[in-house]
């Protein structure tokens, strides 16, 4: 058993931390772009497809990460249609690569972006959009200048939840990405590996960094949220 003393604490390799931040940033930006139209559609549609699509976006909340990871492995593998097409275009595989991690993370973190936005858009309702239309704002203009600012709080929580959830992801990453330093070895995997190899000192340092980082992000968000209270409706 390793004992912790001041002398044994050295700074471990921090590249898994940067990789996690990169992955979370790319995933969050991609989900902002994909989740906004999807949640807008879900909030306003009367289509019969609404319920099935809502159910599909919520699936990652209930499924074990290993199930999602397993199917990604199947559908993104070089033998699959998507995986082989990706190889012929880019020369890289989707599994065991950073791109594959991004694709998996987008799906896995989808509900954390879509659900807060959808309920905010539903709460805002059609009334302010109709008002904007009669004030000569096009539908996109009305979204940009009325709905989005009114949903600012929901955007802040959606971004934070998506980012934090992607940083904390483990099971899907392990199955789809494996453990390739600098490419798929994110912080949660690195911690797992340190623990497996009984390198508790490095596991402590990385875990402490993750706790401090997460706490500071959440603190900033809640403080900013309190300082700029934005009412809806």
């Amino acid at each position: 058993m390793a004992t912790i003393s001041i002398e044994t604490i050295t700074v471990p390799d921090l590249s898994p931390l940067w990789l996690s931040i990169q992955l979370a940033t790319v995933t969050t930006i991609a989900l902002l772009l994909l989740g906004t139209p999807l949640s807008w559609w879900l909030a306003h549609t009367r289509s019969r497809l609404k319920a099935p699509i809502e159910a599909i976006t919520a699936l990652p909340l209930v499924l074990p990460p290993t199930v999602i990871g397993f199917y990604f492995l199947v559908f993104l593998s070089p033998q699959s249609l998507l995986g082989s097409a990706w190889i012929s275009i880019t020369g890289e595989t989707l599994t065991f690569s950073f791109t594959g991690l991004v694709v998996a993370s987008i799906v896995y973190s989808m509900p954390f972006m879509v659900q807060p936005l959808q309920s905010a858009f539903e709460l805002i309702g059609r009334a302010p959009l109709e008002a904007a239309a009669t004030l000569r704002a096009s539908p996109f203009d009305a979204f940009r200048s009325v709905a989005a600012p009114m949903a600012l709080r929901a955007y802040i929580s959606a971004i934070v939840l998506t980012f934090a959830h992607t940083i904390g992801e483990f099971g899907v990453v392990l199955m789809v990405g494996g453990n390739i330093p600098g490419s798929t070895k994110v912080i949660s995997i690195a911690i797992y590996e340190h623990v497996e190899t009984i390198n508790y000192a490095d596991a402590h340092v990385l875990s402490a960094i993750l706790i401090a980082f997460s706490f500071l992000v959440l603190l900033f968000v809640y403080a900013a949220n309190k300082r700029f209270p934005l009412s809806v409706g």
């Binding site: 009334a127 302010p128 109709e130 008002a131 904007a132 239309a133 009669t134 004030l135 000569r136 704002a137 096009s138 539908p139 203009d141 009305a142 200048s145 009325v146 600012p149 009114m150 600012l152 934005l230 009412s231 809806v232 409706g233």
Partner: protein, 364 residues
Amino acid sequence: MNQDLKIDARIAFDDFSLDVSHHSRLDGITGLFGPSGCGKSTMLRIIAGLERKAHGQVTFDGETWLDTTRNHFVEPHLRGVGYVFQEARLFPHLTVLGNLRFSEKRSRHLGTAIKLDDVIDALDLSELLSRTTTSLSGGERQRVAIARTLLTRPRLLLMDEPLSALDFRRKAAIIPYIERLPDLFEIPIIYVTHAIDEVARLVDRLLVLEDGRKMAEGPVHDVLERLDLQSSTGRFEAGVVLEAIVSAHDETFNLTHLTCCGQTITMPELDIPVGLPVRLRIRARDVALATSRPAGLSIRNVLEGIIAEIVEEPNTAFAETRVDIGGAGLRARITRASVADLGLKEGGPVFALVKSISFDRRGL
């Protein structure tokens, strides 16, 4: 001003349907009147393009906004229609000035005949500009909403019961602003209401809807005078609007004499110069009838006339009568027993005793 509005539209909801065909030249304030749920707001929303399921045609000023036979639909933001909603619908993330600028900057390319400062003055908003919209009173919210809508430089202004959420005093404070709008900014207005006092005060032409159908249409005094609109106007509030001219002031008793249809009407002193027109509203329940000129009576306004119509209401104590007082009509709600006792008949001479009159200083 003077734009043609042609509407021939239908829409069906689960529990309600609207089917209206109407063509009119809009000038000043057109009232759209009827009981709650009769389709007034729906008709306004069809004109504005907010009801996508509407069928039929809507044409304004030679421009087709809706024609479902040609699959033609002009998006609401391209119609140039200003809409004042019942609940103001101010944007909560913007200040009062931010709300005004929202529309001002989106219509600046249309010319600056309507200026931000002029609108702020006209609606008395200079004190409110930096306030958040949530801190405003109901009356202030509606004034901001009206200003914001004017700043879209609309070709047509639609107002959907803008005063219904306000109490009597706040209403009275806003009405003068609204009645000046058509002249000040040269925009025709369609004004939806179910309040007869707002109709009498503001409206020039009236369109009455009931249960999704057009019931009547015409100049406001003609429409209000007609007996067949009882269910729309409500028996208690039913009445007529008359035009009169101020003829003299009586300083001793603080009275003002008016001339209406060649007869004199006396009212508590009005602050209106001699020779100017006023609009009077007389409710049917405030008019009594007599077969001879009564003596020893405190009521000052006794008008001579001929009974034009008597409609007895079956299974009630009442009858509605219309009295021709020399060109204009009065309505009187009396008991059926009185009709029998006094031997009142259509075409018979009668004296109408007017207990109460409300007036509107606006010129006609």
